[in-house]
């Protein structure tokens, strides 16, 4: 797979790389509260909170020691034959997803809905795993604390909505391989800041900024 961070420079874009060298911003290993995480629309908030409390430590180290509660979803248990919708009420089990920064591992735990018993647990390394709203908030804080980003955004910096696209790479040579990284977008109403690429790597807590000259030309 090609690198999502360092492609061969396409001449057509005349990219102006302002700063390739990331700025490491390591946090102190202070204890932080367990996260609220993502709640799936099909799992009631109270159920998700209960599941989170079952699997998440009360407190944890910051930085790469973090264990993120990504979310919960109904775990479907397939029967041999179905003559109608399985569920009128609550699902029989839930699948809880967590992400461990230290070794880029996603943990899937199936929990019995009635007894809270763990039915199954498996771990997978280097798989795409949704970045949570809390991680986006952390990335936003890192990015807006970066002088290059603030300079690029100018006077709008604090007025913009920050959105993100998750990044994933299978290429071991890629700087984000095995990392939790995202590309940030900056939005003012229906308009997006153009020509600016801000990549935040939450594993190394670093920010990479690329600016491109405005280009309205296409094929």
């Amino acid at each position: 797979m090609k690198s999502p961070l360092f492609p061969a420079a396409p001449a057509a874009f005349a990219a102006l790389i302002l700063a390739i060298a990331p700025t490491p911003v390591f946090c102190a290993a202070a204890a932080i509260p367990a996260q609220r995480g993502v709640v799936s629309d099909d799992v009631p908030a109270a159920v998700a909170a209960r599941l989170r409390d079952l699997v998440q430590p009360r407190t944890m180290a910051a930085g790469v020691g973090r264990l993120v509660f990504v979310g919960a979803e109904p775990a479907r248990i397939k029967g041999e034959r179905s003559t109608g919708p399985e569920v009128a009420g609550a699902p029989k089990a839930y699948l809880v997803t967590q992400y461990r920064y230290a070794d880029d591992t996603t943990i899937y735990t199936t929990i019995d809905a009635a007894t809270n018993r763990v039915l199954a647990r498996r771990e997978a390394r280097h798989v795409p795993t949704p970045i949570t709203a809390e991680e986006l908030a952390a990335a936003r804080e890192l990015a807006l604390g970066d002088a290059r980003v603030r300079e690029a955004l100018g006077a709008d910096a604090n007025k913009l909505t920050v959105e993100a696209l998750g990044l994933y790479s299978e290429d071991r040579k890629d700087r984000i391989y095995g990392h939790r990284a995202m590309s940030l977008l900056f939005r003012k109403g229906a308009l997006y800041r153009a020509g600016l690429e801000v990549i935040v790597d939450l594993t190394t807590r670093s920010v990479t900024v690329t600016r491109r000259a405005p280009n309205n030309e296409h094929r």
């Binding site: 797979m1 090609k2 690198s3 999502p4 360092f6 492609p7 061969a8 874009f13 993502v38 799936s40 629309d41 099909d42 799992v43 990504v70 979310g71 109904p74 479907r76 397939k78 041999e80 034959r81 179905s82 003559t83 109608g84 919708p85 399985e86 569920v87 009128a88 798989v127 795409p128 795993t129 949704p130 970045i131 949570t132 959105e163 696209l165 998750g166 990044l167 994933y168 790479s169 995202m182 590309s183 977008l185 939005r187 003012k188 229906a190 308009l191 997006y192 800041r193 153009a194 020509g195 600016l196 690429e197 690329t210 491109r212 405005p214 280009n215 309205n216 030309e217 296409h218 094929r219």
Partner: protein, 383 residues
Amino acid sequence: MSIGNFAAAALAAGLAWASQDTAWAQTYTCPTLGPVSGNTITQEFPAGGPGGMFKPAWMVSFGFATAKGLYITGAWFRKKPTDPWMQVIYDARLSDIFVPYHSGSPRYYDLSTFSFNLVNATAADAGPCGRVLGGKVVNQLRTNALLWKADTDVRYANELVLWATLGAANYNYVMSYGFRDDGQISLRIGATSHNLPSVPMESHMHDGLWRIDMDLNGAPNDSAYWMVHTEPSGSPLQASDTMAAFNGGVEGSAVWDALKFNYVLIQDQLLVNGRGHKVSYEFMPVRMGRAVHDELFSKADFWVTRYHPGEDMYKNVTTYVNGESVMNTDDVIWHMSPLHHEPRDEDGFIDNGYWNGVAMVMWGGLDLMPRNLWDRSPLYPNN
């Protein structure tokens, strides 16, 4: 609700479109949407066939969740109210949406790497005859496509449609599932909204990565076949069609060839129609071309695997293929629907440092067409 009543309500809500086409609005009566229980809709359709002997219905369950969008958790069909429900689908969804840019990067996985939610659906989304379920899902009964035409006779298809929109940062994905009164199912992904602001003029693909857990007449006893059209065949004027066990009858992949009109066919080995023919569904791609990327899963257009819990990530489908039989068992069909997006002026432009504009919707997906589900032309009165 009649369109007149709706127009009054919509005007009260300040919706501009409500005043369009007054004459039409005065005469059109919206079709009746079926009852909803939890996340399950039961939709009956108008009677048809000889003497109106058929009155088809679908029962469809759905779910929607962060990082998953809208998905189907079961679909059952019956031709008349006295028939038992026949299961068709256990689960159908976009397992992921892969978006590689032409320069080689970025290469986004828009479902599995970020916690995107469905956007709230509004009355404008639902239109004059639809409704919003759960605040996110639009439910409509569409009646504007021809089912068949025979000289002066005609029947319009009636299609239960569920759709919702994933807000994927700058981009929007419309996820749509349609269930028609002749038993046909449509799975669609629509890509729209704002081009990637950092490189808004760079061409790219949006590959809808479908996972369809087909339980035709229940989970067991389904077999997968690969259909091939060959022309010329034998002589320059002749053609032929063949049906063979998919990948020799074991898990694997197949490359779609436009010249061969390929499709996957899933056939239940026990269920037959009134003429003794086995019931099948044909997986017909709706596409503008083929996309083959560096990623292994994209080297083929179709994959078929035997169902196992936890095997649900399209990116890993190659690791699920381990020689198990896909004949007379519980099959899962995987299909990539590529949308090739070449930016154009209609997409928008950079205005004072900001991207201003939206890309029109591009559609791709699959039609799941029944074969021998009926033993006569569906809802045609003269046979």
